[in-house]
Amino acid sequence: MTRTLHRFSGGLHLDTHKHESRDVPSMLVPLPGQIILPLKQHIGLAARPLVNPGERVLKGQIIAEPEGYVSVPVHATTSGVVRDIGDYHIPHPFGIREPCIVIDADGLDELFPIEAVTDYAALTPQALQEIIRDRGIAGLGGAGFPAHVKLKEGVDNAVDTLIINGVECEPYITCDDRLIREKAMYVVSGARMIRHAVNAKHCVIAVEEDMPEAHDALAGHITAHDDIELVRVPTRYPAGGEKQLIQVLTGKEVPSGGFSINIGIIVHNVATAAAVYRAVTRGEPLISRYVTVTGEVKTPRNLQVLLGTPVSDCLKLCGYEDSNDTRIIVGGPMMGTQVRDCNIPVTKTTNCIIVRRKIPPIQELPCIRCGRCADVCPVNLLPQQLYLYAKADRFDETRQHHLFDCIECGCCSCVCPSHIPLVQYYRYAKFEIALEEQRRQGATRAEQRFLNRKRRLQQRQEVKQKQKAGSTTTATESGDTDADRKAFVRAAVARTRSRKERGTDR
């Protein structure tokens, strides 16, 4: 309790809008008729399907296995029959389609036999990591980074501090708050397990100052010999960002281009900790999560949603009526994405669904160089400089100004008096740079293939010429001679002949 807190530069005090949904108990969403599970709900490679259309699957059964190291499996979230494996809309600003497994629910919700662990402390950290991977746990804070990878890297790099992040800094979102208040024991036990799985020396659970109930709930489960610190951090956006939270709690800064593990720290979300608890003690895979539904709906509240449930079902449950003057945002108002329609599934990273009134497009005005964006930038960048370079397509300069350290928190866009969509410009520049990189790699590979082909054709030509030049007994690379080949042909002809003779006999 005596940890001295530090501060990160910049940041904003935003209107939190949390009261609408935070004090209403969460509700289970009824089983939908159809479940759509994207194969990629995490950062890394998409999972590979293990089932075929028409096959019956049970709740909790693995239906897609991880492909490669940075990947997690996907589990069926209810029992039913696999209808299709194909491209369906996913939560995305462009409304793109990605491979998904579609399950027609049979309403029985029949469980796949699962295996629980009674004493996790007896397991090695590696065994615990495997359990966490096999239960499909990806970070539930929003980015969806596979949890086991963070743990493995943590062990490999001798992690010092484990931070359990309950700082829900974006406005409107209350799913972590609600989860802590309702399942504080899961969070604390999950934190102990993660700590065991990474061999962390210290463990800190952090919540925001405006979450007193959550703080008390957690405090009730932390025992004296736990050696877990419970910290309340000041409410300021984006205090819940991984790098900002580390700075607040430890005063250390994650190096540019580096990861938190480089300074001996790993951060997991509270919901991830709760999922780890369920995975270990009950063997339950990650098949549901808390989702906040708020904004312009009749009853804003938190829901416990099975993954793959359509967003439209969640909205309907909260009294949303489809209308032309609303827009739907998945994620928070600052960093979330506006989606084109609500027939998309809830995934492992869907923390919030906000319905907002449509606003007329705001005209961007010239930059007046007031410098407010630089004042609020939590990573000490020069937003207006970055903006000018991105606008002029001078991507090398944006790189030199550390474009890739931008966390896209949206503080700069929020305070800009000229309504410049700054983050949009940074995203554009980031994607253009990535695209250029991709183009270059493609060109290198194409050139390599072209040269290989040229060499092969040349070799073939040479061999032909050699054969022509050396008359009867030229040895080729493989060692066979013209005489050998003639003998081979003679034998083949003889075989054919004898076969024909036998055929006529019959």
Binding site: E98, E364, P366, Q424, L435, R439, A446, E447
Partner: protein, 180 residues
């Protein structure tokens, strides 16, 4: 007298400028320059520039025989980087060339007769198949050069733009008519 001197001076300077400018653009067989230019080209080996592939075109640019605006698949980005590299002024794609539309070759497998002609034409070995058996294009390796289209006797190859997916979608630049 003073005016004459001045005119003389101007003429000398002009000549110097013309000479230096010429020097900047003239023949150079520097293999490093050829390599550097070649790296900027998209390596589709499509030959649309009129040369036998990307490297011959790079050599032609280095020798001053070819202009920098003759690569349709590279588009504006390639012209920009070639301009930076060689010091030639920026210009739009040459008038006799048409900009390349994105896409990869797709073989209509029902129509393919297995003649191998497209396989022989593909400069990057992106088509697989055997005689009298169906051929298919490896999508990830196809550079979209279109060299396989003319040899096909049954016209079963078409260029298809793959649907947007998580790998290659990207944010557009914010549009702002008022500031343009």
């Amino acid at each position: 007298m003073a005016i004459l001197t001045l005119i003389l001076l101007v003429v000398i300077l002009l000549l110097a400028v013309v000479y230096l400018d010429r020097e900047d653009h003239t023949a150079s067989d520097d293999p490093l320059l050829v390599d550097a230019i070649n790296r900027q080209l998209p390596q589709t080996q499509c030959g649309e520039c009129g040369y036998d592939g990307c490297r011959p075109y790079a050599e032609a640019i280095a020798n001053g025989c070819a202009d920098i605006n003759r690569c349709p698949p590279g588009g504006d980005i390639t012209i920009q980087s070639l301009s930076r590299l060689t010091g030639h002024t920026l210009k739009p794609l040459a008038g006799d060339l048409t900009p390349t539309s994105e896409g990869v070759a797709v073989i209509d497998e029902d129509l393919c007769i297995g003649c191998l002609k497209c396989i022989r034409a593909c400069p990057v070995d992106a088509i697989v198949g055997a005689p009298k058996l169906m051929h298919t294009v490896i999508e990830s390796e196809c550079t979209g050069c279109k060299l396989c289209l003319p040899p096909c006797p049954v016209d079963c190859i078409s260029m298809v733009k793959p649907p947007l997916n998580l790998r290659d979608w990207h944010w557009a630049k914010p549009a702002n008519p008022l500031l343009e």
